[in-house]
């Protein structure tokens, strides 16, 4: 076992044995550079397929995952390989099938539940919030819930209010669950494999807008530990903290700023619970300035949490109050221009950083 803080034994009376690998340091993971370029959706598929080959207790269920080959083609071909007993088309009953899989996980199986979109998870809110993350506690350590809920999170493209939810602000509030939000194919493959092996319920948030993103992804399976941020770009003037799709906006903004000599640390948090606040603190102590970019609403969300923790842990190092860039605090609009104005983007991030830099010049 490495530096990752976990319990000594890999067995819990409520979930039995699990087979989390010995995590290695970031530098010892297979390289991120190479020419095995695949899409984000394929990276997710590879992680699921690999884990399903390793452990027959793992199965995938969701709307259109089997015969349709996935509403977003994530599970394409999996029915052929694993058959209908393990790749299961469900009726449109999110509460029913999420709850069913929670029961199956308590019993000892390892379900992967695909929500076509996290926007549809609210009809299953009781199951995923009241049952999955609380079962271990309420049973006094007798029944666990090793399950992965995954699906698209965030604005797709003019899908308007009901279909554009970012659920991290709401769901990360609940103790008992873990939450991962990858920003690129490499991390998606490594984080999802870890999620499937984790003995606790994991909420895994993907983005429809990134499913076609391409990058080098190693063929072998590797496991990225939860609670480790990735430094996507290095700089000494300002810290940019983000996760999921806006990480790309941060990098884009940082590149623009670099042209004017403003260098940013860009931290891709990768998991929200656990949250690698140590990496954030380390960076803020270096830069004394921080902008947090969060694709969910500002009130009581992930950005407010990150900023609170920064203030609690390294207030004296700050030269300027922390700044947040969120989606605007309104329901998601349909019109193209309104939606664009609503979402975080590189321009907003760049402006936020300039404001902080100028105020502290």
């Amino acid at each position: 076992m490495t530096t990752l803080e976990m319990i000594d034994s890999k067995i819990h009376p409520a979930v039995g044995e699990w087979t989390l690998p010995d995590f290695v340091d970031e530098a010892d993971l297979p390289g991120r550079d190479g020419d095995r370029v695949i899409q984000f959706r394929e990276a997710i598929r590879e992680a699921m397929s690999h884990e399903m080959r390793q452990d027959e207790k793992v199965f995938l269920i969701g709307e259109e995952v089997a015969e349709y080959n996935g509403a977003y083609k994530i599970s394409q071909g999996m029915l052929d390989e694993f058959g209908p007993r393990r790749i299961i088309d469900s009726p449109i009953s999110e509460n029913g099938f999420a709850g069913m899989c929670i029961g199956a996980a308590m019993y000892g199986l390892r379900p992967i539940v695909e929500f076509m979109s996290w926007s549809f998870s609210f009809v299953a809110a009781d199951a995923i919030l009241n049952n999955a993350p609380k079962m271990l506690y309420m049973s006094g350590g007798q029944w666990g819930c090793p399950i992965v809920f995954r699906g698209n999170d965030g604005a797709g493209g003019q899908l308007a209010s009901t279909h554009s939810w970012c659920v991290e602000g709401l769901y990360a509030n609940v103790p008992g669950l873990k939450m991962a939000i990858p920003s690129n194919p490499y991390d998606a493959k490594g984080l999802l494999a870890t999620a499937i092996r984790d003995p606790d319920p994991v909420f895994f948030l993907e983005s429809e807008r990134m499913l076609g993103d391409k990058a080098h992804v190693p063929e072998e399976q590797y496991y990225i530990p939860f609670g480790r941020a990735r430094l996507a770009r290095e700089g000494e003037h300002c810290t940019l903290v983000s996760f999921g799709r806006p990480v790309h906006f941060c990098v884009e903004a940082a590149e623009k700023l670099a042209a004017d000599g403003i260098e940013c640390d860009v931290l891709d948090m990768r998991t929200i619970r656990p949250l690698d606040i140590d990496a954030v603190i380390k960076s803020v102590k270096k830069t004394s300035r921080v902008v947090v970019v969060d694709q969910s609403w500002p009130f009581g969300g992930v950005s407010s949490e990150v900023i609170t923790q920064i203030c609690e842990r390294c207030f004296d190092y700050l030269d300027h109050p922390p700044v947040r860039v969120n989606t605007e605090d309104v329901p998601t609009p349909y019109a193209k221009n309104l939606e664009a104005a609503y979402l975080p983007n590189p321009t907003k991030i760049e402006a936020a950083v300039r404001k902080v830099i100028e105020a502290t010049a």
Binding site: P13, F97, G227
Partner: protein, 376 residues
């Protein structure tokens, strides 16, 4: 408080068909009587302790419904999964949980079945395959489908136990719910899934005629024909009188066996009655005292006792002895609960949140592993 049945209120008459009962031994009948009386006595002491403020929160008394849990669980094997709602003390005891662990849980003690973290509504017992005790009306129905899904998957896909010490087999899951819960969407979704996926789960509606203070004719449509709900999903559905345990068992056992064998769901409208208010804080303005009395005259414990006495398997003396033993067992449970320590804040508040606690899961809490559950 509900009285233990005496010779005076033993009015009930047997009407079970004799031939289906011949397989059931006298010992088994005596065990049923004992189990039902244990629940009755346990609930009497629960109410007492609640009134003394030793038990907090919402507390739902099972008195009157004893035959439901005892008679249906009698038709299962020890490792068949069971899941129920918040009126769960009876199911826990019928499933084999000790009165001590059950009472200590309500007293909020570390010796309770959930180390004092669940309370009255959340009874869990892993060694006895009891998956709770669930507080949200209807939420346990998809869980029940999932337990059946898993046992079927274990048997047919894995062909080996999910855990090394467990052998796969054809199981049947019992999923209990109240008549109020059949109005929930979760229930309908679970029935559809169970039928669609051929899941061996029996949804047992403990139809006590009330959803809190709302009588069944005011809370559900077509209330005289609940089996139509099950049938509409293509599920074998029966209605059973839940006050006569011998009759109940003779109807339920073959029904459950069929569901197990065919790997199909079942639906049971089990007619019963609760003697106490919905929870401990219910003034019961919605029903008459006469109605309650009418049902007490059909009391399931008195009925079985009467039958056993008529058959000569029970005497006034042996009944006294049984009652005394049970009273002692429950008093011991109360004493045990009372004298047990509360969970220590430092040791237990932050445990059992994660099976794999990690750093930075919370800005304020550090999660860790606590005492092993007393049932494990």
């Amino acid at each position: 408080m509900t009285q233990a049945p005496t010779a005076n209120n033993r009015m009930a008459k047997a009407h079970s068909s004799a031939e289906t009962l011949t397989e059931v031994s006298t010992e088994t009948h005596l065990k049923w009587l004992r189990d039902m009386q244990l629940i009755r006595e346990f609930e009497n002491r629960t109410m007492q302790a609640y009134q003394q403020a030793k038990i907090g929160g919402f507390c739902h008394i099972y008195s009157g419904q004893e035959a439901c849990a005892v008679g249906t669980i009698a038709a299962t094997k020890q490792d068949d999964p069971v899941v129920t709602a918040y009126r769960d003390h009876g199911h826990a005891l019928a499933r084999g949980m000790s009165a001590r662990a059950c009472m200590a849980e309500m007293f909020g003690k570390i010796t309770g079945c959930a180390k004092g973290k669940g309370g009255s509504m959340h009874m869990f017992d892993r060694p006895n395959w009891l998956f709770g005790g669930h507080g949200i009306v209807g939420a346990q129905t998809p869980l029940g489908a999932g337990l059946a899904f898993a046992s079927k998957y274990e048997n047919e896909v894995l062909k080996k136990g999910v855990h090394p010490d467990h052998k796969p087999k054809q199981k049947i899951t019992l999923c209990y719910l109240g008549d109020g819960a059949i109005d929930q969407g979760a229930f309908h979704e679970a029935l559809n899934l169970a039928s669609l996926f051929d899941l061996p789960v029996i949804f047992i509606i403990e139809n006590n005629g009330y959803s809190m203070g709302t009588a069944i004719h005011r809370h559900t449509a077509n209330h005289e024909n609940l089996v139509a709900r099950g049938e509409s999903y293509g599920i074998d559905s029966i209605k059973i009188d839940g006050l006569d345990i011998r009759h109940l068992y003779s109807e339920f056992k073959p029904f459950a066996d069929r569901c197990r064998e065919n790997s199909r769901p079942g639906f049971v409208d089990l007619k019963t009655y609760r003697y106490q208010g919905h929870s401990m804080s219910d003034p019961q303005k919605y029903r008459t005292k006469d109605e309650v009395e009418e049902y007490k005259n059909k009391d399931s414990i008195a009925r079985l006792l009467n039958q056993l006495m008529e058959e000569g398997s029970m005497t006034e003396d042996s009944w006294k002895t049984m009652q005394n033993e049970i009273r002692d067992e429950v008093l011991d449970a109360v004493e045990f609960a009372e004298s047990s320590p509360a969970p220590e804040v430092e040791a237990e508040l932050f445990t059992d949140v994660y099976a794999l606690p990690q750093k930075n899961l919370s800005p304020t809490a550090e999660y860790h592993h606590g005492a092993r559950n007393p049932l494990l």
